[in-house]
Amino acid sequence: MSAAALLELQDISLSFKGVRAISDISFAVAEGEICALIGPNGAGKSSLLNVINGVYQPQQGLIRFAGRECRAMRPHDAALGGIARTFQNIALFKGMSVLDNVLTGRNLKRRAGWLEQALRLGRAPGEDDRQREAAEQVLAFLRIQPWRDAIVGRLPYGLQKRVELARALAAEPRLLLLDEPMAGMNAEEKAQMSRFILDINREFGTTVVLIEHDIGVVMSLSDHVVVLDYGRKVGDGPPDEVRRNPEVIAAYLGTRH
């Protein structure tokens, strides 16, 4: 493991009303890498993302992010620290336009207070321009400008996935957590989404942790793969190595999926 870990999990355990979802999981994500979390349904992958950005509080373990250590994250602190994410079941603001969703992703970049904005005084108008400019850059990057004013709830599924990525990217995150960003997409859409993820990683140096079932996509996209099964870690390493690990083959690449 490279020395400069951006994120480190140590002996994380999480249970829901006594039912174990994650048991003693430890791994590290290096700054600037793309890390894939794989494993069968119910393995605890989404729960692990939820632990990383504080939606769930683990009962045990330590989380170290950007040099700071804590027992559990909280969503607001995670956002302040530079963690952004997308959800397995799209969690966009359905009644708002694409542009408003993306602007909302940048809400922590605001300095003007709400009264200043309501009265249109001081920093507010200039800041509105800068926020819009930055949002437009994200829209352009992900090629969704034509839908700028469309209400998100009325867009097709594939586009919604992209808007959700745009909203996360708008926050200019250090760490991007993507929960099945390509689920339900056809091969062409998957290729496009992979391209976007690679571009984000290369151009902005954003560290990415993503959950993906398509093993081809995982192998081609990621620098590092972590395999979960029944809430335990059964593999951790570069893609080629993980692919050869017999325990991984038995647990994941085997019959069950």
Partner: protein, 355 residues
């Protein structure tokens, strides 16, 4: 013809942020405001001022207050009338107990008092949603009415709890004539609508909608849920409080706690359902409907042969038609009259294509 969009492009982001992107819209608004401030006071008569225009304006403002909370921030409330009552009684007491305080300052302080009470009853909103939040705001409704009746201090020990309008003077000018009361109301309502429309399109407005649409995602993005919800209660309470003060002093002149009962809260709720949840314009449309509809029905009734329908029946008929309309709106057009108007406008566009 009117909605010719050709040649009007936004060249700066600021152009896109205007309330009306098209020149026609801006000219229309300027013309409407000029007419409302200069034309109407000359042309209107006392009946129009007192029975139609003033209540229409005040109810629009109350609608805006509730709409910010319910339509934008997604927090259901049946306490609107309670916050109006707090605004009215607080304004009355500031005028009474701080002699020399300008009327507008008392109204603002009245609004702030209502904001404070609204925040108190909004505190449970961090834990409870939907139906249960309605119960909490309903508690506000009953508690405020009870407190205003129970403690004579609030109405300066008037035996029936009635409060009377202070002299309506602003900057030395007297606004107590019907036209004056109309102008005073119009001024306050216009200023607050400008503020409310700005708020709805600001970061806070977007945060409200984010909390409404998907609160986990909002939290993950870094939106502080409690602060955002409480600000919605506070600002909504402020707008409703000012509306209450206007209702008491520029519309009615005298009012008792009973004037702000649960049926008033429902009336405000109907305004935003009919007008459109999450719409600024919708508040005007809903209020116009609520004020004009009963007048229209009773005028229609006078066309019928005498004795065909008596006053009591007419009132019941009104309620029935209203109920049916509310249900129709909820099923057919949850976005209200504002959405119908938007569709009409889209059809009126000429360039480049209708859509």
């Amino acid at each position: 013809m009117l909605y010719r969009e050709a040649g009007q492009f936004s060249v700066r982001y600021a152009d896109d942020r205007r309330f009306f992107r098209l020149r026609q819209g801006r000219l229309g608004l300027a013309a409407l405001l000029t007419f409302a401030f200069l034309g109407v006071p000359l042309l209107g008569n006392d009946y129009w001022f007192s029975a139609i225009l003033i209540p229409f304006l005040v109810l629009s403002l109350a609608g805006l207050g509730l709409n910010l909370l319910t339509g934008y921030a997604g927090q259901l409330s049946l306490g609107s009338a309670a916050f109006m009552a707090v605004g009215a009684f607080a304004t009355y007491n500031f005028e009474l107990r701080l002699p020399g305080l300008p009327l507008l300052a008392s109204i603002v302080l009245g609004g702030l008092s209502a904001a404070l009470v609204a925040v108190l009853f909004g505190l449970p909103s961090l834990r409870i949603k939907g139906f249960y939040l309605i119960v909490s705001t309903l508690a506000a409704q009953f508690f405020v009415q009870w407190a205003l009746t129970r403690f004579g201090w609030f109405s300066n020990y008037n035996s029936s709890g009635v409060i009377t309008a202070p002299p309506l003077q602003v900057a030395g000018l007297d606004f107590s004539s019907p036209a004056g009361r109309y102008l005073l109301t119009l001024g306050v309502v216009s200023a607050l609508f400008w503020l409310g429309a700005n708020l709805a399109r600001s970061e806070l407005g977007r945060n409200w909608m984010a909390v409404r649409d998907m609160d986990t995602a909002a939290a993950v993005i870094g939106i502080p849920l409690l602060k955002t919800k409480l600000l919605a209660f506070a600002i909504s309470g402020f707008f409703l409080g000012v509306a209450g003060a206007l209702w008491a002093f520029t519309y009615l002149g005298t009012v008792e706690p009973h004037g702000f009962d649960l049926s008033r809260s429902f009336q405000i709720l109907f305004i935003i359902i009919i007008g459109g949840l999450g719409s600024i314009l919708g508040n005007f449309l809903g209020a116009a409907f609520i004020v004009l509809f009963p007048l229209l029905l009773s005028n229609l009734a006078t066309l019928l042969p005498a004795g065909f329908i008596d006053a009591g029946q007419l009132e019941n008929l009104q309620k029935m038609v209203f109920g049916v309309l509310i249900i129709l709106f909820l099923i057919k057009e949850p976005e209200g009259l504002a959405r119908l108007w938007q569709r009409f406008r889209e059809r009126a566009r000429l360039w480049p294509l209708r859509y």
